[in-house]
Amino acid sequence: MNDWIERQRHLLDFTLTSLARRKTKNIGLLVVFALLVFVLASVSLYTQALRSEAVRVLEQSPEIVVQRLVAGRHDLIPPDYLEGIGRLRGVRSIETRLWGYYYDPVLKANYTLMVPRTRTIEQGEIVVGPALEHTRGLGTNTGISLRAYSGELHTFLVTDVLPHETELMSADLVLMNEGDFRRFFNFPDGHYTDIVLSVANPREVRNIGLKLMEMLPDARPILREEVLRTYNSIYAWREGLLLALLSASILAFGILAWEKSTGLSADERREIGILKAIGWETGDVIRMKFWEGFVIAFSAFLFGYVLAYVHVFYLRFFLFEPVLKGWAVLYPRFALTPQIDAMQLITLFIFTVVPYVAAVLVPIWRAATTDPDTVMRS
């Protein structure tokens, strides 16, 4: 066992000096490899962080949202609509919600105007999301005038800005008083946008959804788990597509071509011949080459991954942001929560290191099995 460790140490030793002796070639390979890991890891870390951000926010939202459909379109909830639901078993609470979209011609962006359930806001005052704070320069105690769809101008005083953590969902939010909301949108009294139900036992959610559909045929219950599911599959799908395209093209043309074209230099072949002649076994040479590949792959992976981590979580993904985002003008500038996930690491590893190893397997074997007597004939 000790012999074994000592032997591996010798081989690693030799490998390191051998890498150092061929600096330019190896640094080139390292850079290409690390760059590849960087690109893939950036995309992967970014989409994953976005997804878990969304999931985190959604998890605080109610289990069921009920909308009413008229002619297949979302319509207001009339005043007596609620009565039947109260008797459903397993429903912990029922609340009505008031919210709507407002298009701001100044910024050419949509805001979400909403009457909060948990905090009271005085008439004439509003609370805004962080994105509005940046883009319209709003702060506490600044005023803002919004032209309603009716043409009237309404003036509000900003009394607070929402915290930054939940920016993905609340960035474009404007919270206001119920009276202001109804006046601003000309929203009929007693009507609501939708209803939210919270359910005590998560396993009941589906049943309650089904019962709701029976009782109110024109209702559309939206389950939180369904939204989550959709989010998950959308993000995973995007990430998968991107990774597949990127890795397929970059890998094929990057590393494979590189390794193939350079291959093993005559110098390296001669060196392997010498090692074999003076008493190294084919297995020793393969192990030495394995260490070489390991050192390159591992350092490239580590280097690329750390760079990607910094890029995504500290530099706000600035290199690729324009490609992946652009869903809304008011896209949040939120800081993603740093996270590392074993599954993602292994996936990235398989996309980068495994093809590399597979590509060098045969060349290494070929080199390692050169005849030891070739050195006698140079």
């Binding site: 799908w237 990774l243 084919t282 590893f349 996309f351 495994v354 397997l361």
Partner: protein, 336 residues
């Protein structure tokens, strides 16, 4: 559902394994037919060089299988949110009938590659390579398994569509279900514990005995091999039937995969790493013993078999220790 990064990665590995083994198979066949250790001909020299390629390849396949099996389970756990009713990895694997077969094939390929490497390591120590034909015959079996693993994974992931109603841990292990997993969970924790200790302790004993004894008996080595395989299955059953309950501290949560998750402190690795290692070592110990009938392996095979049995004994002892510890330190009370 193919366009998930992890699924693509899994399929990539499966394709790579199948392709590498498929390309290698004709060469293995050539080795079987033309190997002639006494000859100094160019052809024999070429074949000998080829053997180095095969050992390197199989090490690679074995490592890939470890990574891929882990990833497969992680992925199943991760994706459960996409399926209605799936509460964890089990639910995802049950979305269609290919989930569990895919997992079993992954494990099979891992064990086969590991056993092949044990055989190879033994053969490489004998000066006349007596097992060349056995080895490469066995290798020919590996390619179809790798291929089957690829096909079943393709079927599994291809038929995976979000929103299909699946069973979750709870319903999967409910008593009326007939799957193997349900039968395992249906074993009462009490009898399961009795079974666990009454199989594992004798396994440890016979392995340690084989390891320490001066005489060599093929029968005993065979017993080590069989007992190790049995102990592996019983240990998995024990994890499902009672160890998991104690880890989750929940009387109905039987999932053998959730214990790998950070929520449960990755405790599963403490069980599974020694368990898989011990199973591979123990089975290899039994596998190598009969080859002592070759004169050049007359002492090498017993030595290797004994050492492997020793490693298996240590591994299973760890499994028993870890499981016992987890039961003891748990706050759940199932039995008095």
């Amino acid at each position: 559902m193919f366009f998930q990064p992890t699924i693509i990665a899994l399929l990539l590995v499966a394709m790579l394994n199948a392709a590498m083994l498929a390309v290698a198979s004709p060469y293995a066949w050539q080795l079987i037919r033309q190997w002639d250790i006494g000859s100094g001909s160019d052809r024999q020299l070429r074949l000998e060089r080829l053997t180095y390629f095969f050992s390197t390849l199989l090490v690679f396949v074995c490592l890939l299988q470890i990574a891929s099996t882990l990833l497969f389970v992680f992925n199943a756990d991760h994706m459960h949110t996409m399926f209605v009713g799936a509460m964890c990895a089990i639910g995802t694997l049950n979305v269609n009938q290919w989930g569990f077969p895919a997992l079993y094939l992954q494990l099979a390929l891992f064990f086969m590659a590991a056993l092949w490497l044990a055989l190879n390591a033994l053969d490489n120590r004998a000066r006349d390579y007596p097992l060349v034909r056995v080895k490469y015959g066995a290798l020919l079996v590996l390619a179809p398994v790798a291929f089957a693993s690829l096909v079943v994974q393709l079927l599994y992931f291809g038929n995976l569509e979000a929103d299909v109603i699946t069973s979750c841990c709870g319903s999967m292990f409910s008593e009326e279900s007939e799957s193997v997993a349900a039968t395992l969970a249906a074993i009462e924790p009490g009898p399961a514990m009795v079974l666990f200790y009454s199989v594992l302790l004798p396994t440890i004993f016979v392995s340690a005995w084989h390891w320490r004894s001066t005489g060599f008996s093929r029968l005993r080595a065979g017993a080590v091999g069989l007992a190790s395989a049995l102990a592996f299955l019983v240990s998995i059953a024990a994890v499902v039937a009672f160890v998991s309950l104690y880890i989750y501290e929940h009387p109905n949560h039987h999932c053998p995969f959730c214990i790998l998750q950070p929520e449960f402190g990755y405790q599963g690795y403490l069980i599974y790493i020694p368990l898989f290692a011990a199973a591979a070592f123990g089975m290899a110990s039994g596998l190598l013993a009969p080859f002592n009938r070759f004169s050049s392996l007359a002492t090498l095979a017993p030595t290797a078999s004994r050492r492997l049995a020793g490693q298996a004994a240590v591994g299973y002892a760890l499994v028993v220790a870890v499981c016992t510890l987890m039961v003891l330190k748990s706050n759940l009370i199932l039995l008095d």
